[in-house]
């Protein structure tokens, strides 16, 4: 019986083998070879050239993840605690953008943040630039947003916030209310209940939210391309260039992808360990 049931997994296993395992093996092979497929480590030694891009990618992804957490946790908490009405409206607002195509969303962000986009038009209309120019004797007509790291972070937060909110919300909503009552009963005020019970119990949600925001943020190329104005190149852009762009070199691209994957997996591993440690720390 047991064997028969495991047959049900065959389509999935086949799919995974074809589209996950095989590509990873190919990436590894490509990463350690040259164009004529002789083994080399050169692809990795060349990578030091891209330190700036590596650092920028991880920096922006970490910032975006933190911002998502700072916005997402309070929102999830409010959703879990408030009545059904608020819950439904908030959930709708979170899900609504996700029904729109990702590129379309990012393009609209671009047009909103452009030099003559909606935001700058609004500031001009309320006379903000006139005021600044008057006070400081400057001559600015707009805030430059596209092409800044800030714009890239905003794009990441905008696109990936739902992935932070949903897992945290689901751990909070599942939390047994009597646990909170028990903590109060034992002498904990509201802040202590949060610190000693709610936060540690929602940690799994936080960890999966952080993973789900960090990983796509660190590897994105569309957001940095559109909102970074081609100046704020990230790892994703770099890899894309090696496969599709002018600097065609799938071997180098594979090496970069491999290094990024290793770093991301290492980060996740450390964070999960830290997560467990956190639980211990709360305990003590």
């Amino acid at each position: 019986m047991k064997n028969k049931r495991s047959l049900l997994a065959i389509p999935y296993v086949g799919w995974m083998a074809l589209f996950v395992v095989a590509p990873i093996i190919m990436v590894v092979i490509y990463a350690f070879t040259t164009a004529d497929f002789s083994v080399t480590g050169e692809n990795f030694t060349r990578m030091s050239t891209f330190t700036v891009i590596f650092t920028r990618s991880f920096k922006l992804a970490i910032i975006a993840t933190l911002v998502c957490l700072l916005i997402g946790y309070p929102l999830s908490y409010a959703m879990a605690k408030e009545g059904k009405g608020f819950q439904r409206v908030a959930m709708l607002l979170i899900m609504l953008p996700m029904w729109v195509n990702f590129l379309l969303r990012t393009y609209s962000m671009m047009s909103i943040m452009e030099n003559n986009g909606l935001i700058n038009q609004f500031f001009a209309a309320i006379g903000l630039f006139d005021l600044i120019n008057h006070v400081f004797g400057t001559n600015i007509q707009y805030f430059k947003m596209i092409g800044t790291q800030g714009a890239v972070v905003v794009g990441m937060v905008y696109n990936y916030l739902p992935f932070m909110v949903l897992p945290i919300y689901s751990t909070l909503i599942k939390m047994d209310n009597t646990l909170l009552e028990a903590a109060q009963d034992l002498g904990a005020d509201t802040a202590t209940v949060f610190r000693k019970v709610i936060l540690p119990l929602s940690l799994p949600g936080i960890l999966s939210g952080v993973t789900m925001v960090f990983v796509p943020s660190v590897s994105t190329f569309a957001i940095s391309r559109l909102l970074g104005g081609g100046i704020q190149m990230l790892l994703g852009d770099l890899i894309e260039q090696q496969f599709l762009g002018g600097a065609y070199n799938p071997h180098l691209g594979s090496a970069i992808a491999l290094v990024m994957m290793v770093i991301v997996v290492a980060c996740m591993w450390v964070m999960n360990r830290f997560g467990e440690g956190e639980e211990q720390a709360v305990m003590l």
Binding site: D176, N177, T178, L179, E181, A182, A183, Q184, D185, L186, G187, A188, D189, T192, K196, V197, P200, L201, E279, V282, M283
Partner: protein, 396 residues
């Protein structure tokens, strides 16, 4: 027996969809084991939550040591709760669950120039350790400190919950159906255990249950509730021997409840026949409910009895036979150690103290007839199962 600790004065709890507590007046003495007993939805859990501070009554007062505490939050009350489903912290081990309250520090009140200021002071690690270990010893869980909660059986989790609530040395421990999830055997053990702990620690226990046997076995005082009202308060003996109305008589133990007429002091008429009894103070010819406990009926030969009936069903129960006897269409449950076959015509004799007379109430005529005996049995069998208390749905 000793001084009064908690008093509920005219407490009403009303929600949009109805009244859950209807003018509850109740006082609880220091060091008393008091049980709130009643069927699901009777208001017992709501009463407990009001004392615990999780609800405040719509109207009425809650007094603790003569101080009104209606709006004092739970964390500032000298009361701890053992929750129905234990509510142990899954992210902490046994030791840390018990230490939870202690780690929050103790409140020290300083009185300076007549002004009292309370502040939390950390309890030294050494003292925490001693107190946790002492509690674990009391609940027989020594050696389980490092266990995770999920690795404990229901009975062990129960003990952790009790230790966690008691370690703060509350004046009152509230227990919300704490044994509901345990099997029969463990339940009996824990009943004794709880009684022992209560006496050992010398604190007040307020215990909520729907299990009348549990209530009778453990309590100093039983408060029987139904429909948001207190039906009777008394010692287990009072409640059993002198039920106030048909509801209490039926809920506590088995009872035959028969319509009677009080012909004079100490004379009650049942089935057109006068019986001597011990009750007085009723009006002449007042209609009453008469309670006859199944174990108080003596079976005698057909022609020697005060009443004559036909056996319609016999069930062997171990110690005795549950015998259903038909008297003029009304079926009684009689518990006897002798076997009387179905179809036998028997006589019964009732001693004056076997008869208990109650005033008519809204519950008259609802209980006490064993005509539908098999259904009654299913109901008894279901006593362990109780759907989620409706009151729990009402969060503050």
């Amino acid at each position: 027996m000793s001084k009064e600790l908690i008093r509920l004065k005219d407490c009403v709890m009303a929600y949009d969809d109805g009244v859950v507590l209807d003018h509850i007046n109740l006082y609880i003495n220091d060091k008393e084991f008091l049980t709130l007993l009643g069927p699901s939805g009777c208001g017992k859990t709501t009463t407990l939550r009001i004392i615990g501070g999780f609800l405040s009554p719509t109207s009425g007062d809650v007094l603790f040591d003569d101080v009104r505490i209606n709006h004092v939050p739970p964390h500032k009350r000298e009361v701890n709760t053992v929750f129905q489903k234990y509510a142990l912290f899954p992210h902490l081990n046994v030791y840390e669950n018990v230490a939870f309250g202690l780690r929050l520090g103790k409140t020290v009140t300083n009185v300076v120039n007549g002004k009292s200021t309370a502040k939390k002071v950390k309890i030294p690690e050494q003292e925490i350790h001693e107190r946790v270990m002492e509690m674990l010893e009391i609940v027989n869980l020594k050696g389980f400190e490092k266990r995770s909660i999920s690795a404990l059986s229901g009975g062990q989790q129960q003990r952790v919950a009790i230790a966690r609530a008691l370690v703060n040395r509350p004046k009152v421990l509230l227990l919300d159906e704490p044994l509901g999830a345990l099997d029969m055997r463990l339940r009996k053990d824990m009943q004794n255990e709880l009684k022992r702990i209560q006496q050992e620690m010398g604190i007040t226990f307020i215990y909520v249950t729907h299990d009348q046997e549990e209530a009778l076995a453990m309590s100093d005082t039983v408060v029987v509730m139904d429909g948001g009202r207190i039906q009777q308060i008394g010692t287990p003996e009072d409640i059993y021997n002198e039920p106030k109305n048909a509801f209490v008589a039926d809920f506590i133990g088995e009872s035959n409840i028969i319509d009677g007429i009080m012909r004079a002091d100490e004379v009650v008429e049942i089935f057109n026949r006068k019986f001597p009894c011990l009750d007085k103070g009723f009006a002449k010819d007042e209609p009453v409910d008469v309670v006859i406990r199944p174990e108080d009926v003596d079976i005698v030969a057909e022609n020697q009895g005060q009443l004559k009936g036909t056996v319609t069903s016999v069930t062997f129960k171990g110690v005795h036979y549950d015998t259903i006897v038909d008297f003029y269409g009304f079926k009684w449950l009689i518990q006897t150690t002798e076997f009387h076959a179905v179809g036998t015509v028997i006589g019964i004799h009732l001693d004056p103290d076997a008869i208990h007379v109650m005033k008519k109430s809204e519950y008259s005529g609802m209980f006490g007839d064993y005509s539908s005996y098999s259904e009654e049995y299913e109901e008894i069998g279901d006593a362990d199962y109780e759907p989620e208390e409706e009151e729990n749905g009402h969060e503050e």
